[in-house]
């Protein structure tokens, strides 16, 4: 088949729309101010390992100043401002995100390694939508069903991951601001650049100084921030392991906490599923964003009676995926975000083979420079295998089979995680029966990986607690 497919000509997006500065500083009290730590990190393009910019590492003093600025802004302007006015600032930000969408999409692709097709069509529209959605809540909070007089909590410490740098920023910042809280945000160590542009957007929107503060850095900066005594609320998205540490850190304090952590989502394909749609959904579920998705459908549970029909069609579809230059508009699978993450994916994939599962990847050439891992499917996987239990956070799918709906549910739920799941069946009653029994915060039926600002998102069990998005997401920011 594949020899009948002609090669695509390269269709790269121009990077001229992005003007990178050589170095970036923390954004504190409305100003970009030199970090006192004197340290910096280099943000690297994972697709070619070229350095993009130096970004200052925020030390204890910087975090102190940021928290103080956020407190001042909370006390003097933001919490007392009429909701309608707060909302207008959020509308402004949403509009600027749309106006600068192309620049931000290219920058996100450069910094993260994800395909421009995704940053352009998913990350940016959704980030803007989150500000639009929450802007409208700002003057309607008494109608949110959280009591007649909901109050903001205070200063929110927010720590976000590298897989959706700008979208996660929007998920965190928009609800915090809409509800009258002020923010100190730490972007991820490997993907701080769009957050630094967001600082400029706050200035452009004339957001009062101190309402949003951004302190780039790595783990130690995050720890300093979430353990800071001046913080009232901690919101973290990232690994379950770090989530545990944060939960222990805030134990016994007054700080409110929400956590969006890891997942090991199961995609259940019943024998009556629409096969082509299910194949599309399974592929999008685990290979979008290189599998760097906490809600990825990284386990495929296919009914035994259709497995022999389903798996060849799945492989055929995967062979059509184009891996390579993330700035190319035809690219489906981009670069792995960092050398460290590539190492983790390789190690876990190696255990799959070592434990007896069979690995398959399409014949695709990996670029010589940069961090790359081909889409990989493991068959012959048992529930005891590490690749069926541990979050890989890469383009790796583990295939298991089942015979009965009860077995499908039992296998899907056999994990300490509980973030997402998928169900593919044409029978409504079977879909509802299955969805009811899955212990997961988001269940996609006959679709996968759909996100929307109006839809609450979050996990059961060790996938964390609290919800983001929708009316329910406001609860985390109101006392």
């Amino acid at each position: 088949m594949s020899d009948e497919i002609f090669e695509y000509a390269p269709a790269p997006e121009s990077r001229s729309v992005v003007s990178l500065r050589p170095s970036y500083q923390p954004y504190i009290g409305g100003e970009l101010v030199p970090a006192t730590s004197g340290e910096s990190l280099t943000s690297v393009n994972p697709a070619d390992e070229e350095p993009l910019a130096e970004v200052a590492v925020s030390g204890e003093e910087d975090v102190d100043r940021a928290v103080a600025a956020a407190r001042r802004a909370f006390d003097t302007t933001w919490s007392a401002m009429p909701g309608a006015e707060r909302g207008k600032y959020l509308f402004r930000i949403a509009r600027i995100l749309q106006e600068r969408a192309r620049e931000l999409a290219v920058l996100e692709t450069l910094d993260n390694g994800k395909p421009i097709r995704e940053t352009r069509d998913l990350d940016l529209p959704l980030a803007a939508a989150h500000f639009f959605y929450h802007a409208g809540w700002a003057d309607k909070l008494p109608h949110a069903g959280l009591g007649p007089d909901p109050r903001p909590i205070g200063v929110a410490a927010q720590v976000i991951p590298w897989n959706f740098p700008l979208l996660m920023l929007a998920w965190k910042v928009a609800p915090a601001l809409a509800t009258g809280n002020t923010v100190v945000l730490k972007p991820a160590e490997t993907t701080p650049l769009t957050a630094m542009v967001f600082a400029e957007i706050c200035q452009e929107a004339e957001l009062p100084p101190g309402v949003v503060n951004i302190v780039p850095g790595a783990g130690p900066t995050g720890h300093t921030l979430v353990s800071h005594a001046g913080v009232d609320k901690v919101a973290f998205t990232g690994s379950t392991e770090v989530g545990r540490q944060i939960a222990a850190t805030v134990a016994g304090t007054h700080k409110r906490l929400t956590l969006e952590l890891g997942g090991k989502g199961a995609n259940i394909v019943y024998d009556d599923a629409a096969i082509d749609q299910a194949v599309e959904g399974v592929v999008a579920g685990v290979f979008r964003n290189q599998g760097h998705v906490c809600c990825a459908g990284s386990r495929l549970l296919v009914q035994e009676s259709v497995a022999e029909e389903f798996l060849p069609r799945l492989r055929e579809r995967i062979e059509r995926l184009r891996l390579g230059d993330p700035l190319d508009k035809n690219t489906d699978v981009g670069a792995i975000n960092s050398a460290a993450q590539l190492g983790r994916i390789r190690d876990l994939a190696a255990t799959g083979t070592a434990e007896g599962a069979e690995a398959w990847s399409p014949a695709c050439e990996l670029p010589e420079r940069g961090h790359w891992f081909p889409p990989t499917v493991f068959t012959g996987v048992s529930q005891a295998h590490r690749i069926a239990r541990e979050e890989i956070f890469g383009p790796v799918l583990s295939v298991l089979t089942f015979r009965t709906p009860d077995e499908a549910v039992a296998k899907a739920n056999n994990t300490p995680y509980g973030l997402s799941a998928g169900v593919w069946t044409e029978k409504g009653a079977r879909m509802l029966w299955t969805a009811e029994r899955l212990r997961a915060g988001v269940v996609w039926s006959n679709t996968f990986n759909k996100l929307d600002p109006a839809s609450p998102f979050g996990g059961y069990k060790e996938s964390g607690y609290g919800r983001e998005g929708g009316r329910h997401g406001l609860e985390a920011y109101l006392g």
Binding site: A129, G145, T240, G243, R244, Q245, A247, A248, A251, G252, H254, L259, L261, G418, M431, A435, L438, A440, G441, V442, V443, W444, S445, N446, T447, K450, D452, A454, S455, P456, F457, G458, Y460, K461, E462, G464, Y465, R467, G470, R471, H472, E475
Partner: protein
Amino acid sequence: MAEAEPRGRAKEARDAGAARLAVRRTAKLYVGGAFPRSESGRSYPVTSAKGQHLANAAAASRKDARDAVVAARAAFGGWSGRTGYNRGQILYRIAEMMEGRHAQFVAEVVDADGVARNKAAALVSAAIDRWVYYAGWADKFSQVIGGSNAVSGPYLNLSSPEPTGVVAVIAPPQAPLFGLVSVVAPVIATGNTAVVVASERAPLPAVTLAEVLATSDLPGGVANILTGRLSEIAPHLATHADVNALDLAGAGDLAAGLEKDAAATLKRVLRPDPAGTDWTADPGLTRITPFLELKTVWHPVGV
């Protein structure tokens, strides 16, 4: 061994002219619908607010706590799978059974708290009414909390709350009956199952409540009640990997440590209110939502 001088209410009974020796109750645990002694074979003396010996209560061990979690987990599927209407009926039945034992509860609250009889009677009535209150929530919370979400695309998108699982509840020691009911009822009304550590100082109302639960159509294992040393039992529940949530209402000085223990398994934790809880206030959903998860289901719309 010589017969000891009768104490507490047994003494009252004899002083009142009863010609027979009172039959004392051995206070036991309530686990999986049964009333076992502590596996450890231990008990501890319980005294009234005035210092009189009332009874010996079972001192639950780590093994008892683990057994209670196993029972609660086993009961979870069936209990959470019942309709809200049915759970409401059963909670109301608990209120009915408590009403029948009103006088016994009043006597026990008088002993436990040293309060006047009419005050104790008011507390018992309030505890019964609280079961009725939560009986009414059982089939309504999901309408209030859940709903459809207007996503921008051709999808049906529904959010509905679900019970989080097994909840370990540290009952408030200062309100051994009303506080106990106030923390247990909301947890089980929504389909969770509970492992409850009763007031260490005054466990007897909890023991009597267990007898009520056992005769109220509540399936065995839905509510399990442990008596004993809080500092000994609670850490095992906080670290137990099969406990999903922790209500620290009565944890006092232990609260911070237990919350830290709970972090290892990312349990949902309801902290004690630093200002203290007014158990008489309308609780609304405040003790319901912390023990719920929200599930959002997407489905395409099309022909």
